[in-house]
């Protein structure tokens, strides 16, 4: 298990990376292919929401489709 302190440092580094990549949108003019994707922070928000959605979707499907892992054994 990563120790408490190093865990915190990793989070701090990670979050500052997130901030840097989003703030890149201030300096770089991203061209847009379909309008909406040119907005500030679009890829960040889109990626984040898609992943949340995919996890929830999998969870719901899992409720129906998950079985014990010896399900097929006789």
């Amino acid at each position: 298990m990563l120790s408490k302190i190093s865990k915190r440092t990793i989070w701090i580094i990670f979050i500052s990376l997130l901030i840097i990549t989003v703030s890149g949108d201030f300096f770089i003019h991203r061209h847009s292919n379909f309008g909406i994707d040119g907005y500030f922070g679009f890829p960040a928000l889109f990626g984040f929401l898609c992943c949340i959605f995919l996890i929830i979707l999998s969870k719901i499907l899992g409720l129906f489709l998950k079985r014990q892992d010896n399900y097929y054994d006789e």
Partner: protein
């Protein structure tokens, strides 16, 4: 096979594969090193054009059709064999490496074939040899190998029917762009899609690959699905149906990988997902899309082999494959961890890795063709790939909790194979032109713009944020997830059981009825013809004379009347 000093690299590999079981240990190791490297050099130097042509039953067979498309696939297949052979040197089972040579050799031969007939032959050799590789694996490998073989033989039969129809319709066995105005073209398509792992036949990948040995899975990951991708690029570019099949496979792979517990099965689902990207590109079918699909196949084979080597090393050292049993290996297996992470970043298309410069071509082709929804779906899928393979695999295997497993990095040859493939992944990412030069069409695409790099970084890093925020919902459980193959693994059994009882009852009812009739007939016969029956008795001669007289007398009377 030689002809004007041209050696067929695939057939050379097949022959060496057949010889390996006869050789001693040292010679075997030598051949495992040298022959794949030799094949790589041969493929590199193959001159463009049609070679090794033979006439067979009025059809023209071409064993070597060398152009950009077949060459890039043959090249990556040989690279794959080179490093996987080095990786698998510690495998004690001799049959596996020899079968892997036959398998890889027939895959190379299949992509180099210029006609349907020779292609089909190599296609079937692949099916059989890969089944044997699966059987070399764990205890339950036998059953899943049989299921694998059944699916592939079924696909092979559909393909064969299509090919026979198509070849007799066109009166030529040449394999090039397929004319889609007849039913046979669609039968061929179905046969090929089964090999590509398209629904409803996706289950065979995640069912069979993880039951092979730690080294067998590495070999298996490369050839079957990618030969199918090659076939689709050659025969069916621009078939719109493929876009939707591809998109389905992409999300199918992601969702099932998120739910999965076994690390090698997670990676198998991500094969379905990645082949989905390629098939979508083939469906779009423009020059840049085909370039994207071909280059993505190239990059994918390498980083997928790398990921499975990393997983294979963990399995080889710890003997465990389930995320619930693994964790904390970053301390004891640092090299395996770093190589695994490089593979994971490549599959996620992280900037400066191979996936970044190939997958983005497919997305870009959707932009050019104005497939708005497809573009957004591909974008969502890129985020999803990072989620299910990019972070999930390294996190649950190397970090998460400390599973207190005794482990160390694998032997030097396995490390060498992993490190080499990691370097290739990064080199392709940094110098995309090396790969771009080999593609079927001229490349007019620049992957590295600030714009694009920042876009991708934002997308991926925030996907990572989502992963860690939702971590408690991603906790692994000792479960499997039902797939389409449930229909033939479970439902067919239930069906048989259900109808078994009824069929038995009906059959016995019918039998009882007929047995009664039969009994009755026998009894009646016995009554009249048995020892005491009226027709069975012996009659005195006087009686007979009397009755004969009566009959003759009545005859006389009737005559006189």
């Amino acid at each position: 096979m030689m002809n004007n000093m041209i050696i067929h690299p695939g057939i050379l590999l097949i022959i060496c594969g057949l010889l390996i079981p006869l050789l001693g240990n040292n010679l075997k190791k030598f051949i495992t090193f040298i022959v794949p490297a030799l094949c790589f050099i041969i493929v590199l130097q193959l001159p463009h054009g049609m070679h090794l042509n033979y006439e067979y039953m009025s059809y023209n067979l071409t064993f070597l059709r060398v152009d950009e498309l077949s060459k890039i696939f043959a090249l990556v297949f040989t690279i794959m064999i080179v490093f996987s052979s080095i990786f698998s040197l510690n495998q004690k089972n001799k049959t596996e490496i020899s079968t892997a040579f036959i398998y890889g050799g027939s895959a190379i031969s299949a992509v180099l074939s210029g006609d349907f007939i020779s292609l089909f032959i190599f296609w079937e050799i692949m099916a059989i040899s890969s089944t044997i590789i699966i059987w070399m694996g764990s205890k339950d490998a036998y059953k899943s190998g049989l299921r694998y073989l059944t699916v592939h033989l079924f696909g092979g039969v559909v393909l064969l029917i299509g090919i026979i129809g198509y070849v007799s319709l066109k009166e030529s066995a040449d394999f090039s762009l397929i004319d889609r105005t007849n039913i046979y073209a669609y039968l061929i398509l179905i046969g090929v899609l089964i090999n590509a792992g398209a629904p409803p036949f996706s289950g065979w990948i995640s069912d069979s690959y993880p039951s092979a040995s730690w080294s067998g899975t590495v070999f298996l990951s490369a050839f079957t699905t990618k030969t199918a991708v090659y076939f689709l690029i050659r025969g069916y570019p621009g078939t719109e149906l493929l876009i939707y099949i591809g998109i389905f496979m992409i999300f199918y792979g992601i969702v099932y990988a998120i739910l999965e517990n076994d690390m090698r099965r997670i990676l198998s689902y991500s094969i379905i997902n990645q082949v989905g990207f390629m098939i979508t590109g083939i469906g779009i079918g423009t020059e840049i899309a085909i370039n994207g699909a071909a280059s993505h196949a190239f990059a994918h084979i390498i980083y997928k082999a790398l990921l499975l080597m990393s997983a294979g090393s963990v399995f080889y050292i710890t003997g465990k494959t389930k995320c619930t049993d693994l964790g904390g290996l970053y301390k004891t297996m640092p090299i395996t961890m770093i190589c695994g992470i490089i593979g994971a970043l490549s599959i996620s298309a992280f900037p400066f890795t191979s996936g970044f410069i190939t997958k983005s071509m497919i997305s870009q082709s959707a932009v050019y063709e104005n497939y708005t929804i497809i573009w957004f779906l591909l974008l969502a899928a890129s985020a999803g790939v990072f989620l299910h393979a990019g972070i999930k695999f390294p996190w649950f295997v190397f970090f998460q909790k400390d599973a207190k497993l005794k482990a160390k990095d694998p032997p030097k040859n396995m490390q060498f194979a992993m490190i080499s493939l990691s370097i290739i992944c990064i080199l392709i990412g940094i110098f995309p032109n090396v790969l771009y030069q080999m593609l079927p069409y001229d490349v007019n695409y620049i992957p590295y713009t600030f714009d694009h790099v920042f876009f991708q970084l934002q997308l991926l890093l925030f996907s990572g944020l989502a992963f860690f925020l939702m971590l408690k919902y991603l906790k692994r459980t000792l479960t499997l997830t039902l797939e389409f193959d449930w229909f033939w693994r479970k439902f067919s059994k239930i069906l048989i059981k259900e109808f078994d009882i009824h069929a038995e009852r009906t059959a016995s009812n019918i039998m009882n009825k007929y047995i009664k009739i039969f009994d009755k007939t026998i009894k009646t016969l016995y009554k009249h013809h048995g020892p005491s029956g009226i027709l069975g008795r012996t009659w005195p001669t006087g009686n007979m004379a009397f009755w004969t007289t009566v009959i003759l007398a009545s005859y006389l009377i009737i005559y006189l009347l």
